[in-house]
């Protein structure tokens, strides 16, 4: 009962925040100089015609009203520039399914590797494994993803020649996945390590030992569960950003995913695409955060939905 009420409340709140995002993005976008057809090799006259055709000559509030009306019907319009004439919905759907396939793999890798490495480091504090993990995670967290991508390409594809550069060849997804997973893996490693270190000093672990529980139970049931709480908080935004695809990873490895449209839609002034991607991305974040909060409640009984 309580859970369903909570979810309804959160969805209503989400609608409000998405509406705010739509509004702000819409007006900011129109403040940018230029228009979708500035790069067309057309005469000034035909450019004007295009602008009139898409209704871009009308006052901004009328355009906004129209957009909202269409959006309410689930119509996001068609792309002006990037894939001229195709429905924004279809483009997002198609490219997201590619990003998602890659993203889920990267996410699973990051979560498993991050938590495992974090545990190893936390449990061997100030000893060799901890040192190695900390060096690795510090490098990974401070290296921009285009550097990671470049290193992977040089080592795995060029020097050792074990993985293809082309995304469409078998195994082509491995390098973009590794690029996508590097930062979150390292971040999760550090987060888990810090969390484990804090939890290992807690009194309740001493109680467990005093009851005669084995170190295995103490560490992997009691300490681990407690230390995963901050990790879960980070999982929401992480999932959303990984699923929508890294711009760099997708550009470098020419993955036909959603990530590369992020920037190109803006530089191309593809208004409908900018709006479509923004709405899609914010919905995804809101949804992931909601799932995380529910997960949070399942793990930690002290959290209430009030």
């Amino acid at each position: 009962m309580q859970l369903s009420r909570y979810i309804i409340k959160r969805i209503l709140l989400a609608v409000v925040s998405i509406f705010a995002i739509v509004t702000i993005t819409f007006f900011l976008m129109n403040l940018m100089p230029g228009d979708p057809f500035m790069s067309e090799k057309a005469t000034e006259e035909s450019r004007q015609k295009l602008i009139e055709k898409y209704g871009l000559d009308q006052p901004i509030y009328i355009q906004y009203e129209k957009y909202l009306k269409n959006l309410a019907k689930g119509d996001m319009g068609t792309s002006y520039v990037l894939q001229k004439g195709r429905e924004v919905r279809t483009i997002i759907f198609e490219s997201f399914s590619v990003s998602m396939k890659l993203g889920i793999r990267a996410l699973i890798l990051a979560v498993i590797a991050g938590i495992t490495l974090g545990c190893i480091a936390g449990l061997t504090k100030d000893r060799l494994p901890d040192g190695l993990v900390r060096i690795f995670s510090s490098i990974g967290i401070s290296m921009p993803s285009y550097v990671v991508a470049a290193i992977l390409m040089i080592v795995l594809a060029v020097s050792w020649n074990i993985l293809p550069l082309n995304y469409n060849k078998p195994g082509g997804w491995i390098m973009p996945m590794l690029t996508l997973a590097t930062y979150p893996t390292c971040y999760l490693t550090r987060l888990t390590r810090a969390s484990i270190l804090e939890v290992m000093n807690q009194d309740y672990l001493r109680t467990e030992r005093a009851k005669g529980m084995s170190e295995f139970v103490v560490v992997f049931i009691h300490a681990l569960k407690n230390s995963l709480i901050p990790v879960i908080t980070y999982l929401g935004p992480l999932t959303a950003s990984i699923l929508t695809g890294g711009f760099v990873a997708e550009s470098v490895f020419s993955v036909p995913g959603l990530g590369r449209y992020f920037v190109s839609s803006i530089s191309g002034r593809d208004y409908t695409m900018i709006m479509g991607i923004t709405i899609f991305y914010s919905t995804l974040i809101v949804l992931m955060n909601l799932i995380c909060d529910i997960l949070y409640k399942i793990v930690d009984p002290r959290i209430s939905f009030e």
């Binding site: 309740y204 109680t207 009851k211 005669g212 529980m213 009691h222």
Partner: protein
């Protein structure tokens, strides 16, 4: 006769020393303490913060934090040295034959598991009871420690319990496998005064009912007065006085015990009367000077006190204290 006495001894600690090692060097938390505890006996260990009372008793179950090390000594439980036990033997002992309750009930239970789950863990490990029997036992235990509606309460999480109730849960957990020895490490320090009294009464009642031996650690002499058979007073990692409860309260010989008792405010005293603290601070355990550790704070300190550590002087069979004053008095007695 002698054989029978030997059988009665449950725990015997011989010359136990525990030190912590950090960047600034060695901190000698416990410096060679010895005592014995008989079956069913209640021993109080009193002393101020840092006197080594908690460290020495955590040492019994080898729960000393990883920075600490047992330097020497033996901890014989029913004749077997706990310090030489394998991990498996130790796990079978903990929570089963020797159980422990801790100072802060608010942080001593895992917040993410139900009280029932945490009670069940020890029962599952140490007994052969079936799931149904364990559930019955858990309800019995909670009833025994005075928790209402135990059937409902075992499904609840620690945050749904108050401090006093959590300490009751801790006690129920400790008693679940009928231990022969219960170590209570300042079980009432973190609780309200009224709740303190309730917990002490509960421990007393359970002791009479179940007959286990208890080591009761506290810095509050008032708390131990009516529950303990025997009291050990610790200062700077050593035992300064040991005796029957009555002897410590009425025939105390060590100046530190004297100061400790004098500093307990008396309800009958004049409201304008000032508290009588022991002057000065406990010594820095990382750089102990020779001589009696209490000498710098002692009102009757002599020159020998700062030079040499006082020996344990036996006053009678059950009462002894470590103080040069006693040596002087004894010598004066023989001269006269």
């Amino acid at each position: 006769m002698e054989n029978k006495q030997k059988e009665e001894i449950l725990l015997e600690i011989k010359d136990l020393s525990i030190s912590f090692f950090n960047k600034s060097g060695e901190v000698q938390a416990v410096r060679g303490i010895s005592y014995t505890l008989n079956r069913g006996e209640v021993l109080g260990i009193v002393g101020e913060s840092g006197s080594g009372k908690s460290v020495s008793s955590h040492g019994i179950l080898r729960l000393t934090p990883s920075s600490g090390k047992v330097k020497s000594g033996e901890i014989l439980f029913k004749g077997k040295d706990i310090l030489k036990m394998s991990k498996q033997e130790l796990m079978d002992l903990r929570g089963n034959r020797i159980a422990m309750i801790f100072q802060d009930p608010m942080t001593s239970l895992d917040p993410l598991f139900t009280v029932g789950y945490q009670l069940n863990e020890a029962l599952k490990k140490h007994t052969d009871l079936t799931r149904k029997q364990r559930e019955k036992r858990m309800i019995e235990l909670l009833e025994m420690v005075g928790i209402n509606q135990p059937e409902r309460r075992i499904k609840q999480y620690p945050y749904e319990f108050s401090g006093g109730m959590r300490q009751r849960v801790m006690i129920a957990m400790a008693l679940s496998c009928d231990p022969e020895l219960l170590i209570a490490d300042e079980p009432t320090t973190a609780l309200d005064v009224t709740i303190q009294a309730q917990i002490i009464d509960l421990l007393k009642e359970l002791k009479d009912k179940l007959g286990m031996a208890i080591i009761f650690i506290t810095h509050d002499l008032g708390v131990v007065s009516d529950i303990c058979d025997k009291i050990i007073v610790m200062y700077a990692g050593r035992i300064v006085e040991e005796g029957k409860s009555r002897q410590i309260f009425y025939e105390r010989r060590h100046p530190y015990t004297e100061g400790l008792l004098a500093s307990v405010p008396d309800i009958d005293s004049d409201v304008n009367e000032k508290l009588r603290p022991i002057r000065g601070n406990p010594p820095d355990m990382s750089c102990l000077k020779p001589g009696c550790a209490f000498a710098p704070r002692c009102e009757s300190a002599m020159s020998v006190c700062v030079r040499e550590e006082p020996p344990q002087i036996e006053i009678d069979d059950t009462h002894c204290a470590a103080c040069w004053k006693l040596v002087r008095d004894a010598l004066a007695g023989t001269k006269a």
